[in-house]
Symmetry: D3
Subunit: 185 residues, 6 copies
């Protein structure tokens, strides 16, 4: 799958979580994962998670590392499985750097403070995932930690690149694993 | 999903990786995860991974903690995604107990030594997963570590139960996550 | 699946036939069936059945027992099969009470008079079903009968509850039936 | 879908529940429903329902009206939904003839006596259904009723034809219902 | 599948590429292919191909033979496979009339000049295909040929009918081919 | 997808039409198309087409160019669509070399003589396709032509390579086409 890192900052407001957004940015068709850094502000009308909408919980973080993923398939539950693995891979990258995070579903915590937000949903032609990792979570609506708290703010590009490579490798590995087994029964 | 732990030892020889094996053991229908402890010996004719068959690499471990999973659905790649999360959850349980494992796809390593084997495949009516975690890996065909090396041999039942609960919770969480979002685009 | 009966009246105007409507009402995620009583008025712009739109046939009934169902899957034809079984189960409940209805597809008739309306369709994240059973069908656009004609107006809550329980049991039974067979051939 | 009635008796022993059995008999390709009359004897090794295998409950009836269905699709749960509707249609045909049966899942009862057996399963290329309705259930393993008890033994061909027509019409109707709606949400 | 040819001219502006458009025109439900002749003008906001949108390439042709197809299924890649076969069948019809076209994906060329445009996409309830074959391509945005260049302008109705028949036959043949094989392995 | 040409002759007896056959030959996992040359003899017990089995028509050709394809997906009808495109691409390659073949479904004819055989079917983990093109069809059971009749026997390797490249390109193009459109409606 395609990988791309934008070094210039971009605001994430939820509009990026839409079909072919990556294609329109990069002009390359097919499954892709991209990353960028910037403010995160998703108001209630743009939110996809209806539990948050019901609870009136908007999303805000002053400075986040954002991952956007698009797979051209149509199984939403499968997309959630892929999303969970993306969160796992972020945790594994931070573990390699010496930080033990706690994962709960698609959330990551540093101690009791929330490090990330994530959502997966379906479009008419694909499934899409957003995962945002706090760098400086100033004014987040819940107790939050960020890469800066771990002394990793300056490493955001390296982390982004490592995670994208790991995700692309994991997805390729998952597909190949499915191409090497015989059925049983 | 159903969960069950057998305390009495059983040999895993690959025949358990078949449709409705859990149903025939327990008499309960539907998605399930079960665990037991015992020798692991899968000869080439019983092996599902055709890369291993091609390489002539049978599976052997003197003493393993085995997890068997069955989901009544028919997407093999999705089963591999679930399998990867099962391996992740085993790693997270060991991390909670203070041990940092390294995951590579569906394998777990302690240092350079392999801790586990895993496979996922499809049956005419379901998908099935086997993950075996060495307890005492004596005579394994590759450099191997086991729970005993971590001082966790006596905790195998607790670990088995914790992993099964975490897997059931994760799968339930994945399904509910898919039931709370609106589509986009 | 979740079940819920609202005792207070609500108007059905077609807007309820939408993704996560039940979730927004109840706050519980996952497959669900709910029921309520009230006026039914669906104008042409809100109608889902394009044969009715083409024929210019709006839906109206002064007083109906409404069932709303949502399943988080994406096969519209399968949803129609589930819808047919819901209509069957309503007929079976009335048969237990001594009334022989005639079913034709997703319609039920008492003699030549129409007792019900029903539709199934797909959303970006689910399939949804509405079935309305006349209580007092005053001013319906076609010759219509209602539960009141059968002397069952006062029993609407019991009927609603019995049908929801039967539907939940049927869907559970359908799923378990699929988990107990081996493949053939 | 194709329909065919054999007037000459045939034994049903479970071997007919296999892919392309109807095609090999008739030479017509595609979805089909066929019917015949004869002894029913399915021993444990031929049984598809693993709950019955587990319970050691073979199937036997001296004289049954058999329906065999094949749909060229690959969703086993959907096949169970179709199977339930086939059982419903048999009940509706008998209701038209004045007999009130009780349906429970895929079983039909006359009072406390079982009238029918049914199973649905999957093949590598299709899904298949068998439903057998007792005519004279002599030596059945459970208390059983038959069409003969209802005075309908002589009408078996008419009943078979009516049910096949109703099933073909229902399946066509289900498909067309799915082709006339717009999506919502 | 249903087939229909309109002899009176109609403008194609992209709005026809929508769910149930054929149903609303003809009142017949189910898979269908229809044809008509007329101007083709699709502006950027109506375009489905996002590569063309990104490139700012609208579609224009003064006089085209248009085919519209709808299949009530939900696999977009499969729709593209069907679309390719539609383009192939148009080429085969012209080959029978003595003209060798060159196909490249879903495009047809006469020498270096483009003869056709085509797109396939998904709707909430179906997949839809448009293929337009130039008759007089006046003012097309790229070097273009038309049926008139081949001396076939007057034969457009015959060609349309032959292609629709061939497509319906091909799709029926594809389905039947899938109903006559046993699985392997 | 992977491509491979064997220059040494191999007999095709139907056993090659099985899951992971290409993987076992080449050791590369994933979708693939391969080609080789050799005798073709498939007896009735090895045949997949049950219409041929029913008609008692075995397959024989003294010398054929064989294509074997495997896609790791599970839609048999979609496999037939891919198979038809493979046959089309063979015809287009021969057309480029100046020979007009006639295609009828998955058969190709030179005049009234049959040039090819083809079948597509499903395995527990994939779909597989075989297409054989006569080189010298000696003793074929029906009037047959071969590449030798077209003076192309010596070009079989070039033709095989060109067809494999065209098929891989077509399949890639089909997938990318599905990744560049927005949904409608």
């Amino acid at each position: 799958m395609h990988q791309h890192l934008w070094r210039e900052p971009m605001v994430y407001d939820g509009s990026q979580l839409s079909p072919l957004w990556i294609f329109h940015q990069l002009g390359v068709a097919g499954d892709a994962i991209v990353a960028f850094r910037g403010l995160c502000r998703v108001d209630l009308t743009s939110m996809v998670d209806q539990a948050d909408v019901r609870a009136g919980s908007p999303i805000f973080s002053e400075d986040m590392l954002h991952f956007m993923v698009e797979h051209f398939e149509n199984d939403l539950e499968k997309a959630v499985l892929r999303q969970r693995l993306l969160v796992v891979l972020i945790g594994e990258e931070l573990l390699r750097r010496g930080f033990v995070l706690r994962r709960s579903g698609d959330d990551m915590f540093h101690g009791d403070r929330k490090l990330s937000v994530s959502i997966a949903t379906i479009t008419p032609v694909s499934v899409v995932i957003h995962t945002g990792v706090n760098i400086h979570p100033g004014n987040a609506p819940v107790p939050a930690a960020g890469l800066a708290d771990l002394g990793l703010a300056a490493a955001w590009e390296e982390i982004a690149t490592a995670v994208m490579q790991a995700y692309a490798r994991e997805m390729e590995g998952v597909h190949l694993a499915r191409c090497k087994v015989r059925g049983v029964g």
